[in-house]
């Protein structure tokens, strides 16, 4: 499967929820609609929380991955 190439990256490792969501929220506020953002986390809760935050705020999840140690969420910034 062709992976998405993110244009912006965010390191949210070692942060516990809801901090990764707050970091995503703050970063997304600076990005133009249509931009992709890759977030790397170590709190598996982020795999639930970041997609939930995206759904309610109108952003799209493109991909989520979990290798047991790190979780990756790739999202596309929606129109605000």
């Amino acid at each position: 499967m062709a992976s998405v190439t993110p244009r912006s990256k965010l390191d949210a490792r070692r942060l516990l929820c809801p901090m990764p969501v707050i970091r995503v929220q703050d970063r997304v506020a600076e990005l133009a609609p249509g931009t992709t953002l890759e977030v790397v986390c170590t709190d598996p809760g982020a795999l639930t929380d970041i997609p939930a935050w995206c759904r309610i705020n109108g952003h799209r999840i493109l991909e989520t991955r979990d290798n047991g140690e790190e979780q990756v969420v790739i999202l596309e910034v929606g129109a605000s």
Partner: protein
């Protein structure tokens, strides 16, 4: 038709704030949520740390509530400015170190600031008269409105009929007769209203919404302040208070000992900030030393750590002590028997 009025709702993730927002939404008002992160919130953390709890699906209740309501949620990090509330609450603490009244005032004040920046019309909270002993009393509710600077822009839909009319009611943005008159500690009216709205599976946290209401947590925080000689904390401190068992065998240092693998992994991440001890000869916990420990102290600490390892009944246990730079040495000690550990050492 003119644009609907706009309300910002304080969303904690519990049932009351969910209902309050829903009641106003039903009146045709545009509602968005705001949720404050103080660092002490019950949400998440320990769940993420303790391995056995990882298996259970977890959710952030504030996000879940927003999704149920179909509203936007703005999560605001107030960790730094909130410290002043915890250190010097003008209205004092509740049963533990929870500065509930000052906390409410602070959050409503922040919501009011947000309202002005975003041109919203009023603020709503899920407060109910008489629900909580400190911040939600008939005499303290006006204090929140006044000291937060929000005045009569603050509407509590669940108990509005027990309180003086607010601006949104006077202006006809919301109909007072469609608001509620809940009071007291009973949860029945809220549960009945939830049923009417067809809401299920909502969170009903016991006690308060944060760790400051937890007696054991508060006593660990008070110990930290005593040991440091002043009220202070960093984010790492308040996270570590949620992890492991804490023992203070001497006034100038304490031990944080992992209780299971997940906590051990979490504490690993702090090995550059604290001297750490790990059992080598037997499976056992990882421990951090918070404070300045001399050689004798380290030996005592090692004996305590050994006591929580599988070598507790062995004549000797070998441990590795590592400093913040990662230099390590081995130490052999006799595990401390249970009767030699005074109860007072346990925080």
């Amino acid at each position: 038709m003119s644009d609907p009025r706009k309300a910002v709702a304080l969303i904690s993730g519990g049932l009351d704030s969910l209902l309050a927002a829903k009641v106003i939404q039903e009146q045709g008002v545009h509602v968005e949520g705001i949720n404050f992160f103080t660092g002490f919130c019950v949400e998440g953390h320990t769940h993420a740390i303790r391995k056995k709890e990882r298996a259970r699906p977890k959710r952030n209740n504030a996000l879940w509530v927003a999704e149920q309501l179909g509203i936007k949620l703005h999560i605001v990090d107030i960790v730094e400015p909130y410290k002043e509330v915890v250190f010097n609450p003008r209205h004092g603490y509740g049963a533990n170190l929870n500065p509930c009244l000052d906390c409410k005032i602070f959050m409503v004040n922040k919501a009011h600031e947000w309202l002005r920046q975003h041109s919203f019309d009023f603020i709503i909270t899920g407060e109910v008269v008489g629900q909580r002993p400190m911040s939600q009393r008939k005499d303290t509710m006006p204090v929140v409105s006044k000291e937060s600077g929000s005045g009569d822009l603050l509407l509590r839909p669940l108990c509005a009929k027990n309180l003086p009319e607010t601006l949104p009611e006077r202006e006809g943005w919301v109909k007072r007769e469609q608001l509620y008159d809940f009071s007291g500690r009973s949860r029945k009216p809220q549960m009945a209203l939830a049923e009417r709205f067809g809401l299920k599976d909502y969170a009903q946290p016991a006690g308060g919404c944060c760790f400051l209401t937890d007696a054991q947590y508060a006593s660990k925080l008070a110990d930290l302040w005593r040991a440091r000689g002043s009220k202070q904390y960093e984010m790492d401190d308040i996270m570590l208070l949620k992890v492991g068992r804490h023992l203070r065998p001497r006034p100038h240092f304490k031990l944080i000992i992992s209780r299971e693998e997940g906590e051990g992994n979490y504490l690993q991440g702090y090995r550059k900030q604290y001297v750490s001890i790990k059992t080598v000869s037997h499976p056992g916990p990882l421990a951090l030393i918070d404070g300045e420990a001399g050689d004798e102290d380290i030996e005592l600490a090692a004996r305590l750590v050994a006591r929580y390892s599988q070598g507790r009944d062995a004549p000797e246990v070998e441990l590795e002590v590592a400093d913040r730079e990662g230099n390590s040495r081995l130490l052999r000690v006799r595990p401390m028997p249970a009767h030699e550990v005074p109860q007072a050492w346990h925080l």
